[in-house]
Symmetry: C2
Subunit: 232 residues, 2 copies
DNA sequence: GAGCGTCACTATGTATACACTGGATGCGGA
DNA sequence: TCCGCATCCAGTGTATACATAGTGACGCTC
């Protein structure tokens, strides 16, 4: 594996996991030394992260990790709605019936009991997304969704899933999978819309609650506007 | 301006204009020498182009310019439909009435007579797109659309716009702009859908016609599948 | 004491040198 | 003549050295 790939993978994981929080300054020399690579591959990694929108050049001399606030989340979900509704509809038209009825069955019997159950559920969702991507067979769509999902990882960390919401989410996914299996594009798209609406509402509510009850842990930049995602 | 930016801008233009056709091998040393920069900034430029999907690593040693075939165009328009329908709808909800009624007026009076008229029309469409982006105010959406538009530049080069199609396109744009100005999100989205459907049909027809009447100018790769867009 | 200008340092941007891998070519043997 | 192996080379991946610009601090002047 190339050094630049390792640097990218490591930084991506650290940003998504919150180890490198929003506003963290990423100096090239410093990060290169820390990750044990030279500046050249590290610069490539930073370039990819910037193109993903996870870091931004705040000024000519300082690159920082971007943050996500409620407005960002709303924006993300606007794009996500557009892309996933289309994807669900297209998957309904093109997908393998057996694959999606099997997934619907899995959602129907998903257990959220223990920590393990929830981990299994998240893995199931990943397989579900992958199945849709494969059925749609559109690289441009998959690529656009990949960017959105990259950001969603951080969003999920901000929002605690309540048990009731998780249970509802399972049922929503089951319905989407069933609709795709049945070849019902309209239902698949509308069910996706409903699911994303509910997911967004839950996230925003969860953030609202935590931001009003806890102190903000991310220090605000001293001056200037919050770094926007440049998206290359 | 940075050397890497110049290299990126130059290569982008050459790929979009067809100077560097699909399948062209882009060696680092060779291109760096040609563009008068060193390999370091050139590599950064190639990385960005790869992330855009305009070049792809065919093997571990050779980077080539990607191609666009009819299937790619269909895929592009699937994503474009999803994003632009959403964008049009959101612009209708948020856009400045005056801006879009003014644009609708411009479309109503657009002249396609001379070469100049068509150039003006394409510039008008660019301003229209920019107005929608600004009204929607969603960086993630704008960024996703930017990628799609980057590819569309090449698609337009493949398809000859017939005068009748151009005239219809003007009217379709006028309707979309009017719908946005009127705050009619549904009409804006549906009119966008219709417009993209017609545009795609025209492009595919145009390509079909030229590919069956003319010889293929792009040499097929000797072996292996056509390079797919990796999209980083 | 405050404000502005200058100087130095640090971090980025670029160039180049080195390392390594993958492929092609040529030679030898069957 | 054809196949297989070894060697050479071309080109990428990485490290480092050099150029340059921006920032901060210090000192001078008003």
């Amino acid at each position: 594996m190339r050094a630049s790939d390792r640097a990218y993978a490591t930084l991506l994981d650290e940003i998504q996991s919150g180890t490198l929080g929003p506003g963290t300054v990423l100096g090239e020399v410093e990060q290169a030394a820390r990750l044990g690579v030279s500046r050249t591959p590290l610069r490539e990694a930073l370039g990819r992260l910037a193109s993903d929108g996870l870091v931004a050049q705040q000024s000519a001399r300082v690159t920082v990790v971007t943050g996500v606030d409620a407005d960002d989340i709303r924006e993300l979900f606007e794009v996500r709605r557009a892309l996933e509704e289309s994807a669900a509809g297209l998957a309904a038209a093109r997908g393998d019936v057996l694959v999606f009825s099997a997934l619907a069955e899995e959602f129907a019997h998903a257990s959220l009991r223990a920590e393990q159950g929830r981990a299994d559920y998240y893995a199931l969702i990943q397989r579900f997304d992958a199945a849709i991507d494969a059925s749609v067979g559109n690289d441009y769509l998959t690529s656009a969704l990949r960017t959105i999902r990259t950001h969603l990882v951080r969003v999920r960390r901000l929002a605690r899933d309540k048990p009731a919401r998780l249970a509802a989410s399972v049922e929503e996914h089951r319905l989407i999978a069933s609709a795709i299996a049945a070849g019902d594009a309209e239902l698949a798209a509308h069910a996706t819309h409903v699911h994303l609406h509910n997911a967004l509402a839950n996230i925003l509510e969860s953030i609202d609650a935590s931001s009003s009850s806890e102190t903000v842990t991310v220090p605000e930049p001293v001056e200037g506007p919050r770094p926007r995602k440049a998206h290359a």
